[in-house]
């Protein structure tokens, strides 16, 4: 991210002056607020529930949400251009199914992974072309994508298929120890995806064009930017990320199932928006989406640590925590806006 953190007159100022007068630009406020609130939520929970402050809980949060983080990354690209991608949940299901089925058919695990990634990317490409070249609203085009991917999944198999391939299980169980705490490879891949995406958005022409389209598509076009390629590109990226998330998900649950990931697209969208990205496009960061995923995750963790809520109170409390979160975030970012 471009490090524009100092006021204009800083050229002559000393380093200390810069630190002292440091004041984050307005556009980073949502992210900072989200991070602070996340830590706050964590702290408050830690006071109430034993064991929540265990760093392993944080690690588990990453492990359990690796696929959602990757989905969030792809979704961030799409939402930044002012679009939306409803197909990602279904693509995750399709990916698990393709992986499971091809492995069952005896494919090499790498061929299987390649097939998964290629399928997701291709679906993304198709939707992108529909959206850009036929002027179909992203909501509909990707809703059709949702139906299509889920339909293909059912067509491959209605029943769930276990993944028993040694390479997959090996990957799924491989852990990295950091002191006493462990993290899985999937989480590391997710974090790497975030890093790559952050770089692409901040430091490549493609990334800046994404923001430009979200800011004003007509202007971007008049400025001579590669609007078509970029608009199709974000859906390709989202499709790829969904497939990658699907791979991570199939490592997470080692099976392919047509009922996986129903409604996961909403989780991904919610995470992105909670992370401070505007649904109208043009403003937001992948780092925010990562935080958004963690916020959703910590809410679930808090609830399972509590363990005394009934099914309906779980839903109500989830809503209330979400509400509290967005309201506080709103006021934190509004003050200086």
């Amino acid at each position: 991210m471009s490090a524009i953190t100092v006021p204009p007159s800083s050229d002559r100022a000393s380093t200390w002056d810069r630190v002292r007068t440091y004041r984050p630009p307005n556009r980073y406020l949502p992210i900072i607020a989200t991070a602070a609130l996340f830590l706050g939520l964590f702290g408050v929970g830690g006071m109430r529930y034993d064991g929540l402050t265990d760093p392993q809980v944080l690690m588990s949060l990453l492990i359990d949400n690796a696929f959602l983080i990757v989905l969030g990354v792809g979704m961030t690209f799409v939402i930044l251009t002012g679009g939306i991608d409803l197909s990602v949940g279904s693509v995750v299901a399709l990916s698990t199914m393709i992986a499971a089925k091809t492995l069952e058919l005896g494919w090499s695990p790498y061929a299987s992974m390649a097939a998964v990634l290629a399928t997701g990317t291709l679906l993304g490409l198709l939707m992108g072309l529909l959206i850009h070249y036929f002027d179909i609203q992203p909501f509909i085009a990707t809703l059709a994508g949702l139906f299509l991917a889920r339909g293909i999944t059912y067509l491959i198999s209605v029943e769930s298929i276990s993944i028993k391939d040694p390479t997959f299980t090996e990957l799924a169980f491989r852990t990295v120890y950091i002191g006493d705490y462990y993290i899985r490879w999937t989480a590391i891949i997710a974090l790497a995806t975030v890093a790559v995406a952050a770089y692409v958005l901040a430091r490549t022409r493609f990334g800046r064009t994404v923001y430009a389209i979200g800011g004003n598509e007509a202007s971007a076009m008049l400025m001579g930017l590669r609007v078509a390629a970029t608009k199709v590109g974000v859906y390709v990226i989202s499709g790829f990320c969904a497939a990658l998330a699907g791979l991570l998900f199939s490592l997470y649950i080692l099976s392919g199932n047509s009922l996986h990931a129903i409604g996961m697209e909403l989780d991904a969208i919610a995470a992105v928006v909670i992370g401070g990205t505007l649904l109208t496009g043009g403003r937001g960061y992948v780092l925010g989406s990562l935080l958004g995923v963690l916020v959703l995750g910590i809410i679930k963790t808090l609830i399972s640590f509590d363990g005394t809520l009934s099914s309906y109170w779980i839903r109500i409390i989830t809503g209330v925590l979400l509400l509290a979160f967005v309201i506080v975030q709103r006021f934190a970012t509004r003050r200086r806006a």
Binding site: D50, G51, D54, Q56, V57, S60, I63, D64, F67, L68, Y154, V158, E159, S160, I161, S162, K164, T169, A172, F173, F249, Y252, I253, L254, S255, G256, N257, S258, L259, H260, A261, I262, G263, M264, G297, K300, T301, I303, S304, F305, G307, T308, L309, S310, S311, Y312, I314, R315
Partner: protein
């Protein structure tokens, strides 16, 4: 200080990860478990995965971190629990499955599985139809035309019940499933699908619904079409929830295969045994029966869910 659980204070802490609250059946199941736990002084940590496997895994993982004494759950789907169950095993926490099985390589990952056998339920329904094929051929054309209201596509109960049913009716050539469509386990779904079946086919003899709710929806559709459910079209369902039993007693349904949600007592019993180090069987099938119209009228008054 380690977690809130632990045997040190004598009480058992159980982490229970429920699938969701998708049906009356499930709610009865949850209630039974919560009430029994309370009655037996077991400290129950409950979460509801809202139908999502990832939520369930996350919940189980948090139980491991909280160091509960025993974990029980009704898996959302059969596959994909290997990793988290291995973690539980590594942490020395025994696991009991309820309601639905999981499909893992290493069966030592869980102690026991308590629940119904969905295939068997389908078979019972099929058997009854084969035995009563004559009466079921309501229009007397020599073939029994069955329409099937499936559960959610891909869900284990839907797949298994269809499978068990198909297997048994294969014994009788005159019985034929002419149409089959998902009604998503809901009344509204059952009603809408049945409406369209009635429009496109006027030789329907029997409806086989994968649960009571869809059967009840079908009844509404049949009545709206001016026919008499139970007479003009026979209905077989699975579950035996109260509304279903009422309809059975009223003669609108012809046969119900029970699928018992009241697993609480058996579950707590098993948990205690496991924690005391007793041997438990690998598979405990819930005691379930079937109901005809006469039987329904008898047991209806003391039906609690």
């Amino acid at each position: 200080e380690s977690g809130s659980g632990g045997n040190d204070d004598g009480t058992i802490t159980m982490g229970f990860a429920q699938v969701g609250a998708e049906s009356g059946w499930r709610t009865a199941n949850t209630k039974s478990i919560q009430e029994t736990a309370e009655a037996e002084g077991i400290d129950l940590k409950f979460t509801d995965a809202q139908g999502k496997q990832e939520n369930q895994i996350q919940a189980i993982r948090s139980y491991i971190q909280q160091k509960v004494d025993v974990i029980a759950f009704s898996p959302v789907v059969e596959t994909g629990f290997d990793a988290v169950l291995q973690e539980a095993k590594a942490a020395g926490i025994p696991v009991i499955l309820t309601d639905r099985a999981v499909d893992v390589e290493d069966t030592s990952l869980y102690e026991t599985f308590l629940g119904s056998d969905f295939v068997l339920e389908g078979e019972k329904a099929g058997e009854w139809l084969v035995e009563n094929a004559k009466e079921a051929d309501v229009d007397g054309d020599g073939t029994v035309n069955v329409v099937q209201l499936e559960g959610t596509t891909g869900a284990a109960p839907a797949i298994d019940r269809a499978e068990g049913f198909a297997e048994k009716i294969a014994a009788d050539d005159s019985i034929e499933v002419t149409a089959s469509q998902t009604g998503d386990f809901t009344r509204d779904g059952g009603k809408q699908v049945m409406e369209s079946f009635l429009q496109s086919d006027d030789s329907i003899d029997v409806v086989f619904a994968h649960n009571d709710d869809m059967g009840l929806g079908a009844i509404e559709a049949i009545e709206a079409a001016g026919l008499e459910p139970g007479k003009d079209i026979q209905i077989i369902t699975i579950d035996a929830v109260k509304d279903g039993m009422q309809a059975l007693a009223d003669g609108k349904i012809n046969f119900i295969v029970e699928c018992n949600p009241l697993l609480g007592p058996q579950l707590m019993d098993l948990a205690k045994k496991v924690l005391d180090g007793e041997e438990v069987p690998e598979r405990v099938v819930t005691e379930e029966t079937t109901f005809t119209q006469e039987q329904a009228a008898e047991v209806l008054p003391e039906r609690q869910y």
